[in-house]
Point group: C2
Chain length 335, copies 2
Amino acid sequence: MSELVRVAVDAMGGDNAPGEIIKGAIEAVCESKEVCVILTGRQEAMDAELAKYTYDKERVETVDCPEVIETAEPPVAAIRTKKHSSMVAGMNLVRHGEADAFVSAGSSGAILVGGQSIVGRIKGVHRAPLAPLFPTEKGISLLVDSGANVDPRPNHLVQFAQMGSIYMEYVIGVKNPTVAILNIGAEEEKGNALVKETFPLLKECRDINFIGSIEARDIPYGAADVIVTDAFSGNIVLKLYEGLAAVLISEIKKGMTSTFRSKIGAALALPALKETLKSFDATEYGGAPLLGCQGLVVKTHGSAKAVEVKNSVIQCLTFTQQHISDRIREHICTD
Amino acid sequence: MSELVRVAVDAMGGDNAPGEIIKGAIEAVCESKEVCVILTGRQEAMDAELAKYTYDKERVETVDCPEVIETAEPPVAAIRTKKHSSMVAGMNLVRHGEADAFVSAGSSGAILVGGQSIVGRIKGVHRAPLAPLFPTEKGISLLVDSGANVDPRPNHLVQFAQMGSIYMEYVIGVKNPTVAILNIGAEEEKGNALVKETFPLLKECRDINFIGSIEARDIPYGAADVIVTDAFSGNIVLKLYEGLAAVLISEIKKGMTSTFRSKIGAALALPALKETLKSFDATEYGGAPLLGCQGLVVKTHGSAKAVEVKNSVIQCLTFTQQHISDRIREHICTD
């Protein structure tokens, strides 16, 4: 039997903590015999939730952490001062090799700060980007970076492309994934200063399947597997995706119930329609890894329910078993 | 009777030229007695189209232009060398005071270059941004800039905010329009270097109703009337809006016809639904003005049909009658 993959889970992070978080962690343990979880959080709260389930107790540990980092707290100060928080404790487990990965639905800012400062970057990695998967007409694409590094330099984007490719290929299973840079036109001379400087570097980069520029319009069609961009632009894409899908879906529901005739139609069509809409309803598919850290840090949606938490834990399994950090260490350009 | 507003129209620009362009121009002349149009293009082609309609011949002129600027041509070279193109001729009419405005569905790049170099900016205006209107849950918002100025400076964005406010108030009729800067979080310390430097300048700026940062997620809800950003980010918003709406609508149609039951439902609900979807289907509502030029330049969607061309011409009427250029001249900060 292969060695267990140890995933620390922030039991106190997110809108539905600790209930849904612990439920998801337990579901992951039940789904895969190769994973064990280490829950970090307030002992009493964790015990109360755990008492609800039947599971293999050998593969679920808890670490008592009296503090919690709240979403509104300034991230740097929170990470520095709340040493006994569920988040800092979980990250320290990864740092000290006592866990392979850490999953949290808590404050994004704190996860980004803690990932880089506590877990630390792989030697040679300039910046650790947040890389969420999101739905497209064809399936899913990876957006690197979507919130960690505003105003990056061109060589940072080259590493984002390399790390994103490795993730898509070995964790998601897309052979030779296509990589594009987010731009405002398809021609090589288009773009802002960052894109113009980065484009030729990506063209020269071996190890990636660079297909050139992608316009935002083509993202929802799934025109590239990995989309490289600065965090400011990436965040715009991700948030607009979320907002526009939600507004369109609500407008469509309104439109479908605007007349008596359409109301009957809606009643008949809605079950099938819901399936379609669901796939475009969430911004983040499972969790978004912070790529390039020594050990894995995964940020799950703040509103994550058990199923997303479970998926994020299972994602850590593939990530660890596929030795993604080693592959990144071997393959990134460090100039 | 008030003086006629003279709108030059590029009869050869866009996917549906000259047929839909000329049809739209004629419709505008028929709709408003206050407008006259000056069509620029190949005489023979224009005459053939004009022969199809009955209209007040006193208010439709033509200018024969043997050349056409194609979409794929490098903009700067095209504007410089094709002096006898429908686009350059139309812009020269505005430059020399023979027309108040110019409308084109042709190459965006050439319109941006020609607008700034032929028509020219108002004294004190640093950059002329492209400001399209787009649909939201509440109505419409204005996005400044969406394609003209990548890598702008903070004081450029302040002018964008001022010019956008004037446009929204006097052309669209939104009293004291709210202005927000596109950002990746609501807090003042968030953002890239450009946003961080621009934010305090906008806060200090009188004449605008600045409400702070807006996240991309809130744009579709209509959270601000005027959204200020650099052209790279603005282009991402605009293009993603277009692409995501199209993909979602196509997915929804697929979803609604996936089962027998849902097919019947779809047949009943679709007429009402189509109305809703239509309002989110086009990126640009009418035309996008290039703000801050001496005289008005309006870029219409490349795929514009007659109704969009007509709306763009009518938009020029309000713009001119409301003396938008004069208001901009009086109100912009020039430091």
